[in-house]
């Protein structure tokens, strides 16, 4: 595990949302992406609001002989995004990859009828507007470097309805996929690739704190593969899309969901009605 790979050798990456909560050996998506990127040879700029929460990932990267730094920033702030990109370029000389991995979601069922307007605004701002803000400053630097890869962490809830209403989150994630496609087309000639990872019912620290064990099993059973996904499954897909192996892939939504998005409710009913 300590030998570094070469799939992202020579690349500089910003990973936002890389200082989330952790529990036991469960890693968040931003953390797992930062760790795998560094393991594949990238210099990684971990961005989050709280350095303390990034210490574990930074330590892991250092242990493995990788290169990473932390930059404290709130990516819903335009000036902070500008400073973040400038600092990444100052530290590592250029910018090739941005992973937008920050998100927030309501902690209770939220439909359009009962959502509080301020909550709606906050979710659209953190889960959608941040993609615009980081890209606004990152794209010109990527163009300076001859192109780049932007990876936005979306959700199956941006495509289909989940167990409970989370309408502002669905709107943000759907918006993110549409924005990514337009960015992919309009910056294509600048060799900027923009793709989304459509994350299914993975088990992460964020999920672990709000979901009882029974719900955790139902989430697992709802997927055709019937196994539980974690942040590393998302991170491997991010490595692929960030690397030059995917140099001709742009504007795609890649589900990481154990097959969930190709099911219909009745196809999975037998697996959900009884414990397995």
């Amino acid at each position: 595990m300590s030998t570094l790979g070469t799939r992202l050798e020579g690349k500089v990456a910003i990973v936002t949302g890389a200082s989330g909560i952790r529990s036991d050996d469960l890693w968040g998506i931003g953390e797992a992406i930062a760790i795998l990127f560094a393991r594949e040879g990238a210099s990684v700029f971990l961005v989050g609001r709280n350095r303390d929460k990034a210490e574990a990932s930074l330590a892991r990267i250092q242990e493995e002989g990788g290169e990473a730094s932390f930059f404290p920033a709130d990516v819903s702030d335009n000036d902070a995004c500008q400073r973040m990109v400038a600092a990444a370029v100052k530290t590592y000389g250029k910018l090739d990859i941005v992973v937008n991995s920050v998100a927030n979601a309501p902690d209770h069922p939220t439909s359009v009828v009962d959502v509080d307007e301020a909550l709606w605004d906050s979710i659209i701002e953190v889960s959608l507007k941040t993609v615009m803000l980081t890209s606004k400053h990152a794209i010109p630097e990527m163009i300076n470097a001859g192109g780049g890869s932007i990876i936005n962490i979306s959700s199956i809830q941006g495509v289909q309805a989940g167990f409970r209403a989370s309408h502002p989150y669905s709107a943000a994630k759907g918006g993110m996929m549409a924005l990514s496609k337009s960015m992919a087309v309009h910056y294509g000639r600048d060799n900027i690739r923009t793709n989304c990872l459509v994350v299914g019912q993975v088990h992460t620290p964020h999920v672990a704190v709000v979901i009882p064990d029974e719900a955790r099993q139902m989430r697992r059973r709802a997927g055709p593969l019937g196994t539980e996904g974690d942040a590393w499954d998302v991170a491997w897909a991010a490595v692929f899309l960030a690397s030059d192996e995917a140099r001709w892939i742009s504007g795609v939504d890649l589900p990481i969901d154990a097959g969930l998005l190709v099911t219909t409710p009745l196809a999975m009913y037998p697996y959900l009605k009884d414990p397995e």
Partner: protein, 275 residues
Amino acid sequence: MTTQGNRLEGKVAIVTGAGATGSGDFVGIGQAISLLFTRQGAKVLLVDRDEKNAEITLAQIKEEGGDATVFVGDVTNIDSCQEMSEAAVKTYGKLNVLINNVGISGPGSVTDVEEEFWDTVIDVNLKSVMLTSKFAIPEMIKDGGGSIVNLSSIVGLRAGGGRPSHAYAASKGGILGLSNSMAVHYGRDNIRVNCIAPGHVNSPMVARHSSDEMMDLRRRAGPLGFDGTPWDVAYAILFLASDEARWISGVTLPVDAGLLAATPLAMFPHLKDPE
């Protein structure tokens, strides 16, 4: 290009249509997949109707120190498909990965296509996926699961340029529907089924049948604006075949320079004048 890796270490793969279609470094998609797979540690059964072409791919692999075996077979023939899976298991002990890469095309809209030609295209492109899977899946289940990657096309999702080939479109769209259902119904057996939707890839087969002007338009129609190669397709298949994608099933991954994200008007400025 000949870097060795371990991303498919210990895996046994069948690649259909693995014979050489190009020359030198300008390889076909099946050839690129086979070379990349063996470089990453897989043992590959190279399936092709044409023994000579399959031997060319085998020679390239052997030159690099990879492990592969030629199987001359016809993927539209049920007995041949059974023998193919048996040969993989007999030669290498098991079967983990199946790449359905065989495909043919030809002009014809529904109003002018010959029924016989329609049947041939559907047999070669679509029925072959059923026939190879019929025998591969039970072997994969014996080894704890497997990964099937089917070569669809952007034409399975949207109308392509140039002369219509409705049989091709139907076969490639059929592959998507079939793959999705297979992904769900064999999910609990840990069989993953995914599709690649290649766009305007510059492959030897395409280059042979297209004018220079059409090749240039195909390149310019993609947002990225540069030519894709069989290697671009092969890297995506490598990812889906490997355990890195152990939680990815039922997806259709375009390898198309962003084409599917664009509307005709979005790309019109890049198409109307040479660039």
